[in-house]
């Protein structure tokens, strides 16, 4: 936030401020309007000038114990009461209790004839009387410019207005003076010339047939203030200016976790689901199951006994319920138990400010733990991209400050680059889930990724997202047609590695078996050779036996013969060697 003023140090000490009580305005002005001084509020027709002035007085009377005088130059007391009663302000009651005084100043040019010198002492007396009668601390003059139409002599009027503002300061009342926006000056009659302390400009712009109101503090003498143009809303409970910076970035971060309603998705998010009070973006192309996932999240909240508020911008509640029934999700019981509420509205029904106001109001009254906006992208048609972003930012800020977990679905168009999420709000989101269609082999499959999940370990893998009549299921590591995403490609790679490992294992086993077979064959061969060798050895042995036997027989025969022939005994003893060698040859 930019600031004006040379010395921002302790401005409150130097310049006493008067809190308006109007949501957001006190933050922009750092505490309120300059106390005891007049503030000029200018803007075109239908900007909410009168309402701002009225709310300043009502809140002053109700919240700060400062009675106020509303001097109207346009609307009668009855009209005024009626108009602000629509916003829930009970002016009549405040008037009865002498907390407020309404005074309608009526001027009709045609009834007035001017004859010579005059001044506006009558107005002074009247205002003075009104202020004193209830001890007013605040004054609203709405709008002084009616005097220019009613009184002919502008020179006198200007001099008197100058005197009036001086007088208001001397009187010590904090005043709001409203004026019509002029084409050259801030106000049609140059009132800003006289009111130099604080000037606020209201604006009502129409962008693509949808109107949005803006507020800007043009000038605030002696005080820093937000100089941006802030959208503001006129809701059922008055004005709320919603500066983006209103809440700052100091909301407490909870470490409590809540389930997504889909068990496997919880597992992907570190096993416990989302952080309580975080913001979740769910993007996807048409028909990828965003609403289904959102509905499961809502149901999970109801199961925990927490309230969930579902803003549906495309479908009616009964249509959502019917569709969810078809996937086995019954939303009627939580609705009956008051744990789930739908709020459906066409995005084009009214401008962003009204959407935001209504959403705020719903959130205030229902006090949900979970808020679902489905789809956020529909709001784009209700405002420009930057406005929508600002609005969503404010909404998220608000929800975070209330520790409400929010889930926004966002429709991405097929063919758009993934990261170009529609409203460029991804940076505001704590978690981002992406649903995508992957087409291949003649079928379309839904795939879910966790693109980011701040502050928690999360799966970087894609999961096939199956929607059946029993609900949503996430199936492991879908191997896509490859190259679409790193996650999928990596998953494919691991699968290939696994296959290769298996193949080499099988190869080893095969070789082992072969070796075993070879060994067996070899052993069989060895055994064969050995048996052959043994057979030969056996034969040899037998032969030797035969020879020995024969020798023995021969010897015995020879001995017998010799005995018979009575041969020399000595010769008979050495003889057996010779016949043996003879026989071998």
């Amino acid at each position: 936030m930019k600031t004006n003023g040379p010395k921002p140090a302790s401005p409150a000490a130097r310049l006493p401020k008067c809190p308006t009580g109007i949501q957001g305005l006190d933050e922009i002005t750092r505490g309120g309007l300059p106390r005891g001084r007049p503030t000029l509020v200018c803007g075109g027709a239908g900007c909410g000038k009168t309402l701002l002035a009225a709310e300043f007085l009502v809140r002053g009377a109700l919240q700060f114990g400062e009675p106020g005088v509303f001097m109207s130059f346009e609307e009668t007391e009855a009209e005024l009461k009626g108009n602000v009663a629509l916003l829930g302000f009970d002016l009549a009651g405040l008037v009865r209790r002498k907390k407020m005084l309404l005074d309608h100043v009526y001027i009709e040019r045609s009834e007035i004839q001017e004859t010579g010198e005059y001044d506006l002492e009558g107005l002074f007396v009247r205002l003075n009387h009104a202020i004193d009668s209830i001890g007013a601390k605040r004054v609203a003059l709405d709008t002084l410019e009616a005097l220019f139409a009613g009184l002919p002599n502008e020179a006198i009027l200007r001099a008197e207005l100058r005197r009036l503002f001086r007088w208001l300061k001397d009187k010590g009342v904090t005043a709001i003076i409203t004026a019509e926006r002029g084409s050259e000056h801030l106000t049609r009659h140059g009132l800003e010339e006289y009111v130099s302390d604080c000037v606020i400009v209201l604006d009502h712009r129409i962008n693509e047939q949808i109107a949005t109101r803006h507020l800007r503090v043009v000038k605030y003498r002696g005080s820093p203030h937000g100089t941006n143009e802030y959208p503001f809303l006129i809701g059922d409970d008055g004005i709320s200016v919603l500066p983006i910076t209103s809440l700052g970035l100091n909301h407490a971060a909870s470490s409590k976790r809540i389930s997504t309603g889909i068990a496997r998705l919880d597992a992907m998010l570190g096993g416990q689901g989302f952080f309580c009070g975080s913001s979740i973006l769910l993007t996807g192309t048409p028909g990828t199951g965003k609403t289904s996932a959102a509905a499961f999240f809502a149901q999970a909240a109801a199961r925990r006994g927490e309230r969930a508020l579902y803003f549906a911008f495309e479908e009616s509640p009964s249509q959502i319920m019917r569709n969810m029934r078809s996937i086995g999700l019954r939303l009627e019981p939580p609705i009956k138990r008051g744990l789930l509420r739908f709020h459906s509205a066409r995005p084009t029904l009214y401008g962003l400010e009204m959407h935001l106001a209504i959403m705020f109001k719903e959130i205030f009254t229902f006090k949900p733990a979970v808020v679902i906006v489905d789809p956020m992208t529909s709001l784009l048609v209700a405002g420009s991209e930057s406005e929508t972003k600002a609005m969503v930012t404010r909404l998220i800020d608000f929800l975070k400050s209330q520790q409400i977990t929010s889930l926004f679905t966002s429709l991405t168009h097929a063919g758009n680059p993934l990261q170009q999420s529609e409203i460029a709000i991804s940076s505001l989101m704590d978690s981002w889930l992406l649903l995508q269609d992957i087409e291949g082999n003649g079928e379309r499959n839904r795939v879910l990724y966790v693109l980011k999940a701040r502050g928690m370990a999360h799966s970087n893998q894609s999961r096939e997202f199956l929607i059946s009549d029993r609900g949503i299921d996430l199936v492991d590591a879908y191997i896509g047609p490859g190259g679409v995403l790193t996650g999928a490609a990596r998953a494919a790679q691991t699968a290939r590695d696994k296959a290769e490992a298996l193949a080499s294992q099988q190869e080893t086993a095969r070789r082992q078996r072969e070796l075993d077979r070879k060994r067996a064959a070899l052993q069989r061969q060895i055994a064969g050779l050995r048996s052959e060798y043994e057979a030969e050895e056996e034969e040899l042995r037998r032969l030797e036996e035969q020879v020995a036997k024969r020798t023995r027989v021969l010897t015995s025969e020879r001995t017998e013969l010799a005995r018979l022939r009575h041969a020399d005994a000595k010769k008979a003893l050495s003889a057996p060697d010779n016949p043996k060698t003879k026989e071998r040859d």
Binding site: D103, Q113, V125, R126, H129, L151
Partner: protein
């Protein structure tokens, strides 16, 4: 109450049975301008409405609550309460012609 009422003159009876003009002059304190206005008014009435008028002078400093009834902003303001319709003339009434036009009085012949 500082209201000064100038009663219809005795000569009333001599004139036509015309309606009474009820005039109210709002001032804020005894300022020279108020005095001038009152003197001017008195003179005009005497010249044109002799005997048929009544002037109430209301000092808003004394009776501020009365400013609301006649929607008084400018001081001095002369209000013609009767005859209807209500007409207002602001200023010190120094321009006699315009006062007469404002009061819807035909200038004396």
């Amino acid at each position: 109450m500082k209201t000064r009422t100038v009663k219809p003159n005795e000569s009333n009876s001599t004139g036509a049975p015309a309606k009474i003009w009820q005039l109210r002059l709002y001032v804020a304190g005894q300022t020279p301008r108020s005095m001038t206005a009152f003197a001017n008014l008195k003179k005009i009435c005497e010249n044109h409405l002799k005997g048929h008028y009544r002037i109430d002078v209301i000092d808003l400093v004394e009776q501020p609550h009365l400013s609301k009834g006649d929607q008084i902003l400018a001081i001095p303001t002369l209000v013609r309460k009767l005859p209807p319709p209500v007409r207002k003339i602001i200023g010190d009434l120094s321009d006699t012609e315009r006062v007469l036009v404002g009061l819807d009085l035909r200038p004396a012949d």
